[in-house]
Amino acid sequence: MIGSVIIGIASSGIRLATPYLYAAIGETFGQLSGVLNLGVDGIMLMGAYAAFYTALRTGSLALGLLAAMIVGALLGLLMAFVSVTMKAEQGISGIGIYLFGLGLSELLFKKTLGTVETIRGFPRIHIPWLSDIPVIGRIFFQQNLLVYIAFALVPISWFVLNKTPLGLKIRAVGMNPEAADSLGVNVNRVRYAAVTLGGILSGIAGASLSIALLNVFQQNLTNGMGFIAVALVYFGGWRPLGLLGGALLFSLVNAFQLWIQVEGIINIPSDFALMMPYVITILVLAAMARRRVNAPTALNKPFDRGG
């Protein structure tokens, strides 16, 4: 009995965490290079729409995913152009991207689809043998392809950031752009790459919602998830593993409060149950009380050679 409860909550938590993982990992790349992108939610929405519409019209989920990545890349490029080349105030340009993505996705939805419909999205895949492990198997290895990819991205992004030249450049450019520049690194180009990569991942985050987890598109499908993802980057201390912890913590508590509401075990008003993910995320971060925070020092500052 207790096993099935744990399985239920944990599976829900993993599904809920998936879009946060994609978006937050993407944002981490961008922030480590020194660019704050508050427009993640808007890019997610455009990615979700692109994936849904493409998959619906072509019947191919792979093409849908590709569409989301392309759209995400384009919006990431736009953000990079405004924030890096035009050196705009990054907080504002991010919000501009958010409003733009929010409005455009709804407009396209209205004009090309009109009503809500559902799609047969990425199915659940049972990984052979691993999914037969009691409890753990049911939780981890009977999920959706895009869920697996999201979790796989955690070690992959760790590797890229810490063990590849690109990752090194990204981190250098965010910590000390003047030094990196003097060593011959093209600061702005690296930032472009990081922010565009962030856009691609945000696009996939949106696709994970519209063609894998929820299998539907509607106006404002993400309901502000992108902003939570940005907040989780700070929780994770700009480290993929920390991010995983944050996304899982937030989502598992969310799944848990749903279960509390359903079972009615603790008789608290629904509003307080709904508060739990936010309260507990703060409390856990406070309890961790890190001394060293590897903040990218150049975050939110455009690079001016000799300026």
Binding site: S4, G8, V116, N223, N254, L258, W259, L274
Partner: protein, 321 residues
């Protein structure tokens, strides 16, 4: 000569008279403006009003009826500006389709005594404040909720039924309470488990709420607000039945959407239009109910007995007479 002149003058006068009467008979179209909080394609609250306006346009004809709308007006200040603007442009009826618009109407309606206003969903027409040009309308959604509940209780094999709602207020609260009462009337031992997601648009949370409810044993689900599309998807995936409200949600998942309570505001709108044309600008509270046809229950045979029909067709069910 004079007689002829008088005759032709008379004929001219009569012609002018007939022409002007005819002209006024082909009167200016009745103009309605609607201010709505969410999108007209939300498959829920706002869409129901938009669909009703479209239906009236079709039945009255576009020479006799015109409507404009503002959607996504959940910000009250913006809605107030819209309502005031429409009123000052001479619309005959301005519909404030959102319970949050009440305070705005109290300020605006007295400034436009020749405009009819309608406020929904509510029962308050502000007559106690001396305002005479506001209609009120609401949906007795607990009626359809009760019917859905009765049907749900009979269809549920596990005796556990799940509900997914936004915030426990207003129309959602009425529907859910009606639903619970309907279930209890058939099966007092049935459990109805309710999840409130705290938002009208959190599709992901609605979807996981459905998963959690089904994990807890629910095999029949219902819910209200535009976010339930996520829950319907989960219900389809896991083979639970779905009961919809506010609009016909069958198209989302025909195999499992068993029945819907559909809001049809056309009767209410027609009454208001008639009253305004007659000179009464407000003061009546309307309700759409099962009795007056404003609430309709659509039942989807495919979800209810589709497998049975298919079984008979392909022979897996043998009928023993």
């Amino acid at each position: 000569m004079k007689t002829k002149l008088r005759g032709s003058l008379g004929a001219l006068l009569i012609g002018i008279l007939v022409f002007s009467v005819g002209f006024s008979v082909a009167a200016a179209p009745f103009r309605v403006a609607a201010v709505m909080p969410s999108s007209i394609s939300d498959l829920a609250f706002s869409q129901s009003m938009y669909d009703a306006l479209l239906a009236i346009e079709e039945s009255m004809g576009s020479e006799n009826f015109e409507f404009s709308y503002s959607e996504g007006m959940f910000i009250v200040a913006d809605a107030a500006a819209a309502i005031r603007d429409y009123a000052s442009q001479g619309y005959d009826l301005v519909i404030a389709h959102g319970s949050q618009y009440g305070s705005s109407l109290v300020e605006i309606a007295p400034d436009f005594p020749n405009t009819g206003f309608a406020w929904g969903t509510t029962v308050d027409t502000f007559t106690d404040q001396g305002i005479t040009n506001v209609f009120a309308y609401e949906a007795r959604s607990e009626e359809g909720g009760y019917v859905n509940g009765v049907l749900a209780a009979q269809l549920s094999k596990t005796g556990i039924i799940g509900v997914i709602g936004p915030i426990e207020t207003g129309d959602a609260k009425l529907y859910v309470e009606g639903f619970i009462a309907g279930v209890a009337s058939i099966n007092a031992a049935a459990e109805v488990k309710v999840v409130w997601t705290g938002s009208f648009s959190d599709v992901a949370l609605a979807s996981e709420s459905a998963e959690t409810l089904i994990n807890a044993g629910a095999d029949v689900l219902t819910g209200t607000a535009q976010m339930v599309v996520g829950a319907v998807g989960v219900a389809r995936q896991r083979g639970a039945l779905w009961f919809g409200t506010q609009s016909d949600q069958t198209s989302l998942a025909p195999e499992i959407v068993a029945a819907n309570q559909v809001y049809d505001w056309t009767g209410t709108l027609e009454s208001m239009i008639a009253m305004i044309k007659d000179g009464t600008m407000g003061g009546t509270a309307f309700a759409i109910t099962l009795a007056n046809g404003g609430l309709k229950i659509t039942v989807n045979a495919e979800a209810l007995v589709g497998p049975t029909i298919q079984g008979i067709i392909d022979g897996t069910i043998e009928i023993e007479l």
